[in-house]
Symmetry: C2
Subunit: 223 residues, 2 copies
């Protein structure tokens, strides 16, 4: 059985790869070069894909920066430092990103004949993005069941799996470690420098996860 | 009020532009350069956008051909000639295309502050694609209401409008003519030659529409 896995090169998607492999799936990772500020994450994605020995690592290229509206796709919007208030959706939110990514994954899953799409969203230790929540995934699944030739003509539904959705960052670090996911190859920093900044929301969530898991984060941080 | 309009450069999307303008919207068209066989349609899209005097015509570039699985994105799959059997979804179906396009449109609508997304799908004289049907659009709308910061945080929903969904090709030609849509600038042919082939499903549906409307199609056909 085949699974398309959304692979950013970060901690969560890499643990997702390990979960899918552990469940016996042949991995068909897909990554996105969307002119993101932290395009460095793509190097990690490539190394992670290689680590898992996949047949093909699909990289979709797209000028999402021409839409903008996010600190990750518009260099004129700053990436906030320090813990963000959990009441507001922060400026690192990229409009419709997971919807766009899942839509490509659905088309790809149909073409390669995959039964599943794995996505490493989680809705506990996260940045409050609307498209990481269980409601969003549930509605996407309903839509997917009406969208494809595979589903409509052949009765073959493609199921979105979110193995991390109810895990804390600590749990994700522990799970990844248990499954021997190559966490040392991952990058989570939004700023995209040579070393992780240790200050952006993504770095802070990651460091909190390792700290609570009582494990050392294997990647390098600035200063 | 602003509307994002999905503009392929074909007949339907151009009539959609005219409908949105007639309803008083400021037009924010978006087109896709997805390495489609008939990339010539993009020239039409640009001319149509210019005709309507839009402030900005967004062209999203993306290597959807790396997914393939369609006669429109894989040159090794032939575009069928003659009327296709309406029982099967034909090989010109592009996996998840409208889902991908609508997802980008939703993100763009959020960023520019548009209230509506216009898409020229129709489910009568069409090629049987699952993502042109009312059920698909209805489920996409539900998902959209959960996907964006605009909807979740600000209570501002973005509504998908499908003014052509219940029209025949004849009705679409008549509506476009009435609204002075620049049908002479449009291209519908899947093959993408200098002149329309007149033989593919898209040409045949278009010619049928003009014929039933008792109007001359202003574009050139081969031979």
């Amino acid at each position: 059985m085949k699974a398309v896995v959304l692979l950013s090169g970060g901690l969560d998607s890499t643990v997702c790869m390990a979960v899918a492999r552990d469940a016996g799936f042949e991995l068909w990772p897909v990554s996105f070069d969307y002119n993101q500020r932290h395009s460095r994450e793509l190097e990690s994605a490539c190394r992670v894909a290689e680590h898992f020995g996949v047949k093909r690592h699909l990289v979709i290229k797209t000028n999402m920066d021409s839409i903008g509206g996010s600190a990750l796709t518009d260099q004129s919007i700053a990436v906030p430092e320090g813990e963000v208030a959990r009441t507001d959706i922060p400026p690192t939110y990229v409009p419709a990103r997971n919807l766009i990514f899942l839509s490509y994954a659905l088309g790809y899953a149909e073409v390669v004949g995959a039964d599943k799409i794995f996505i490493g969203v989680n809705s506990l230790d996260y940045s409050g993005y609307p498209d990481c929540r269980p409601e969003f995934i549930g509605l996407f699944q309903q839509l997917a069941n009406y969208s494809t030739k595979a589903a409509v003509q052949d009765g073959r539904s493609i199921v979105v799996e979110t193995p991390l959705i109810n895990l804390t960052k600590k749990d994700i670090v522990l799970l990844g470690t248990k499954l021997q996911a190559p966490l040392f190859l991952t990058q989570s920093c939004y700023v995209g420098g040579e070393k992780a900044c240790g200050k952006c929301d993504s770095c802070l969530l990651r460091l909190k996860g390792f700290s609570e898991a009582k494990l050392i984060d294997p990647i390098e941080y600035q200063g």
